[in-house]
């Protein structure tokens, strides 16, 4: 292997590492706030990438119908909760959030999709479609289980993952799609060729990390999310609603998933079930971060990307084995260095 190949592998590894970092951060975020191990995170990536690819072809993505369905189910569940007592405000809020919001998104996308928008606008449109799904997934699957154990929440996650993957097959079909890059220019730095898409990936990852940092350190809602992660009872006692932090965490996770999808869609062909594998790699990074540390997760994700890239060069058939094998020594180390308490 010469320096040329090494630089290429490093560049490739950092690019996928940046995407895994985003997913890892979303997983840590959701777990620390809600104790949910969010396996369906990868589905948002696949939905995002496939949605963008369809928009590129000037087609109306089926995710908007899916969004409307999700909203309708969430609305029905809200109605069921309201059967005994309700007030106009709760009803209107639910109506607006679950029916009007997806309706508006549906309208916007139907009008704008065939117009041949610039790539950046299509990317924003994709995020607009996918982000609210976090809200509905939380409402439908997790909110009724807010007080359940980590194990029950994990089982629920597996169910949601399988359901969303199945829905992906129904709505997108089995065919793989590749989106167009946000910008198809290429820059050369010395002997290294850097596609503009990679720069978008690095830039977006850094921007999201900075935005998350500001959100958690500077805003009261961000602090409330941290407080919930540190001490759930304490957070309730100061008036932080579990639902509020849950919804916020899932919305952020879905948004990050959609952004990851938009970023990865143009560099690899995405199928309805590709998201799972990508999500799992983010999960490896999140595990290395102990499902608690944002900085460790971000650094570990870059490491995962690099190892994957070098493994695919030296032992391509063992690529996945090597990446997922990383978990084993980490778990051994974590279990030796920490004393764990069962569930708070």
């Amino acid at each position: 292997m010469d320096a040329m190949i090494a630089t290429f592998l490093i560049q490739d590894g950092v690019t996928s590492g940046a995407i895994y970092a985003l997913l890892g951060l979303a997983l840590v975020l959701v777990f620390s706030v809600t104790r949910v191990i969010f396996i369906p995170q990868g589905e948002f990536v696949a939905y995002g990438a496939l949605t963008l690819a369809l928009l590129d072809n000037g087609r109306i993505p089926p995710t908007i119908s899916l969004l409307v369905c999700f909203g309708a189910v969430a609305f029905l569940l809200d109605l069921w909760d309201m059967r005994r007592r309700t007030d106009a405000r709760t009803f209107l809020r639910s109506l607006g959030l679950n029916l009007v919001l997806p309706g508006i998104v549906y309208g916007i996308v139907t009008v704008l999709a065939p117009l041949g928008l610039p790539s950046f606008a299509k990317a924003l449109l994709t995020i607009l479609i996918i982000a609210p799904m976090g809200l509905y997934v939380y409402r439908i699957a997790y909110r009724p289980l807010a007080d359940a154990s980590v194990l029950v929440l994990l089982i629920c996650s597996i169910g949601v993952h399988l359901a969303m993957m199945g829905l992906g097959l129904v709505f997108f079909g089995a065919e793989g799609l590749r989106a167009q890059p946000l910008d198809d220019a290429n820059y050369t730095i010395g002997s290294l060729m850097v596609p503009a898409q990679s720069l978008w990936i690095y830039g977006s990852t850094i921007a999201i990390i900075v935005a998350l940092y500001i959100f958690f350190e500077r805003t009261l809602l961000g602090k409330a999310l941290r407080a919930t992660a540190v001490n759930r009872l304490g957070a309730r006692l100061v008036g932080v609603r579990t639902q509020l932090t849950g919804v916020t965490a899932f919305m952020l996770a879905a948004t990050i998933g959609a952004v990851s999808g938009v970023l990865i869609g143009p560099i690899t062909t995405i199928y309805y079930d590709t998201g799972f594998l990508i999500g799992l790699k983010g999960f490896v990074a999140a595990i290395i971060g102990g499902l608690a540390s944002f900085p460790v997760t971000a650094v570990a994700a870059i490491g995962v990307g690099l190892i994957e890239s070098f493994a695919s060069f030296f032992a391509s058939s063992y690529k996945e084995v090597i990446v997922f094998g990383l978990i084993v020594p980490v778990l051994i180390w974590l279990s030796l260095s920490h004393t764990f308490h069962e569930e708070e």
Partner: protein, 237 residues
Amino acid sequence: MTGNLLELSGIHASYGRAEVLHGISLSMKAGSIVTVIGANGAGKTTLLNAVMGIMPARGTILYDGVPVPHSVEARVAAGLCLVPEKRELFASMSVEDNIELGGFLRSASERAETREELYARFPRLAERRRQLAGTLSGGERQMLALARALMSRPRLLLLDEPSLGLASKIVTDILDIVSELRKTGVSILLVEQNARAALEIADEGYLIELGEVRRSGPAAELAADPALMESYLGTHS
């Protein structure tokens, strides 16, 4: 309207099948300190948790003459606030963030105003505002828990064993602060094992034993009853 700030009647609460409160009734006037005393396991903490809504309970809880709202958050918004026995601080966050979060349901300007008042009242916390809550001493943690609770501008403060695990000098400080709070119009429902100290600052007292009210009356009267202090409470002083 009964004229009472808090009116409990027939409160029952259970852990699984074991009922720990068997129909507790209690009433307190606005602006007063009422103390609930009793031995370990009498159900004092459960009673406070039931009032706050973190423990499901049967019976009627009237707050300001109307049934108290259902959720914990709505109770906080209505002016109830619990300082639990274990403080439940946000250990890995700064003192300032802990205090800030106490006012989660209030506007930024209201929070800023109350925060300055609290720093004036607790200068020790002002000194340590950048420090992590988990690194504070026991007494400072209790002060922080109180400050965080006061940040929500409660009308009714529920205090669970504020003196637990603290040196006697600090206990006196804390109880002084509690009786001073009353002057600002906060009503206080105080649960204490340290009965003598609690009755000293309270207006009314309730003695709870095995989930039932055994005695109630003006605090001074209970404190002056040697038989009661002896038989139910041992010789706390």
